[in-house]
């Protein structure tokens, strides 16, 4: 099981969204991608999943170019947690999570979930603390509960590769940590590999084994959190001054942005 991107470049029309990015997800490890808005993080994730075609370079899933694989065989190996689902139809939490078993069905169209599918769905509902809500409608859940249901559905696919696009965006503090702990557990216990796009540098620092810093479509830096989360590198990426000290509990890097008052730049010649 491996997912690798080699010199991926993605262009929309003429605009280059991702430029010459190479990365390889390792089993048992969480890789975080951080970078400013528009850095190409989500585009990279969508390309690794085979949804967006790369203009050059290659995405290899278990050594095979991803565009040669059919959707169901990809979905058995790669699960995606994106932002919220559309919910215009009444769907229960259990039905929603069972959607994660689609790629395993022998008949893709009218197949029915097996006892094993149900068993797996119930297990991930317990893991995500949603068991009590399984008969509720998705539309009745809070934003955080919904995000957990998305996570549960991704876990139900049993895919060894998890791609998460800002999975903690709607979550409160405690659920942010719970969610990433779930990802951590998958990596530790099931030897899964995870790629997390996030804006939360401290969360990335705490949970990621590797961090990829992107700016304007390129990976500018990559390495262990303590290697790349330095004031210089973060200033280079975000153009903001940050303080980095040791987290009092974990000992990892802790980032605090320093907000300076906006100074009004007067051009030369102005009085």
């Amino acid at each position: 099981m491996s997912l690798e991107g080699r010199n991926i470049t993605v262009a929309y029309d003429r605009r280059i969204a991702v430029a010459d990015v190479t990365l390889s997800l390792k089993r048992g490890e969480i890789t975080a991608i951080i970078g400013p808005n528009g850095a190409g993080k989500s585009t990279l994730l969508r390309t690794l999943n085979g949804q967006l075609p790369q203009s050059s370079g290659a995405v290899l899933l278990d050594g095979e170019p991803i565009e040669r694989l059919n959707r169901r065989s990809i979905s058995r190996r790669i699960a995606v947690v994106a932002q919220e689902a559309e919910l215009r139809f009444p769907v229960t939490v259990l039905e929603f999570v069972l959607g994660g078993r689609f790629a395993w069905a022998t008949h893709s169209g009218w197949g029915w979930e097996t006892d094993q599918d149900l068993h797996i769905a119930e297990a991930v509902l317990r893991e995500t603390e949603l068991s009590d809500l399984s008969a509720r409608l998705m539309s009745e859940l809070s934003g955080g509960e919904r995000q957990r249901a998305l996570m549960a559905r991704a876990l139900a696919t049993e895919a060894p590769i998890l791609l998460l696009d800002e999975p903690t965006a709607n979550l409160d503090l405690s659920h942010q940590a719970t969610l990433l702990s779930l990802v951590r557990a998958r990596c530790d216990q099931h030897r899964a590999a995870a790629l997390v796009v996030t804006h939360d540098i401290n969360l990335a620092s705490e949970f990621a084994d590797n961090i990829l810093l992107m700016k304007q479509g390129r990976t500018v830096h990559s390495g262990r959190p303590e290697q790349v989360l330095t004031p210089e590198i973060l200033h280079d990426i975000f153009e903001i001054r940050v303080l980095v000290d040791a987290h009092p509990v974990t000992g990892g890097p802790r980032i605090t942005p320093v907000h300076e008052p906006i100074s009004v730049n007067r051009g030369p010649g102005s009085v």
Partner: protein, 335 residues
Amino acid sequence: MNRVTFRKTIVACATLAAVLLLAIVLMSLLGSEPLPVRASLCALASFGTNRCGLTQDQFDILFQIRLPRILLAAAVGGSLATAGAGYQALLRNPLAEPYLLGISNGAAVGTMIALVFFGSIEWTRPILAFSGALLATLAVYRLARGRAGATPERLILAGVIVTTFLSSVIVFVTVLMDATRIRSFTFWLLGDLSGASKALLPVTIAVAIAGALALTLHARSLNLLMLGERDAFDLGVEVGRVRIVVFLVASLLVGSSVAASGSVGYVGLVVPHLARLSLGSDNRITVPAAALGGALFVIVADTVARTVIAPRELPVGAITALIGAPLFIYLLRRA
């Protein structure tokens, strides 16, 4: 709502099929000309091989007029309800409906072109109606689809644009017709089963059954498609292929039913909604239940249309709209 299982689906569909059969028999006894109940039932049970004491006139009314019309109503209702369920999954919106989106109008334009230019060749009607429906579907899809799927506002606006545009095309084609046909034509536009064509009846029935089966066989993919194309893709649905299947099948269903009976409105809205309300949103049960329920709905509506002011008749579309429009308002307020 309990989870939908194979067993629950079979029980629901078998029940609906039994009620449908019962309705076909009962409604064939109702009409402006009363028929003796026992003899009619006997003749129906023998599939028309035995007259069971009916007079030739009564026998003809039963087998040449009422039964074909009821079967056509069933085929049209089943087709439109199935197409509605398909469009709703495709556009990710429970308000999608072939009549309200202008797709029926597309099929009507196709049918009219066939009537005006190839009047004597009946089979050109469903083919051109299908082409018209397909083009209208593509137009609505392109207009309605935003980044977040078709929002209710976008969807309805797209429907209004396509409907009004095609309505003016219909006016243009109507001008090309001779004046004597315009009245029957206006009825047909509102959805009218009285002009049932015997030649097209088997085609309409076959399309209804094949279309309902085809969408049912994609139901699990449609379940995921309803929650967003991107999610469906991530979970393993061949989104592009399923989309084409729904496009083609739904257009075919609308095309064949409009060619046979004009634009019967709201069936595709009312019936899938009732199916979801009573059985849940799982398309594995919604699609076949909508097909059977749609058949039932239009049979009953048409019986009302031809008996309520007998011996005069209303177009069936007037009845379905009377029921459908208030429901549409209710759904819109909830959306």
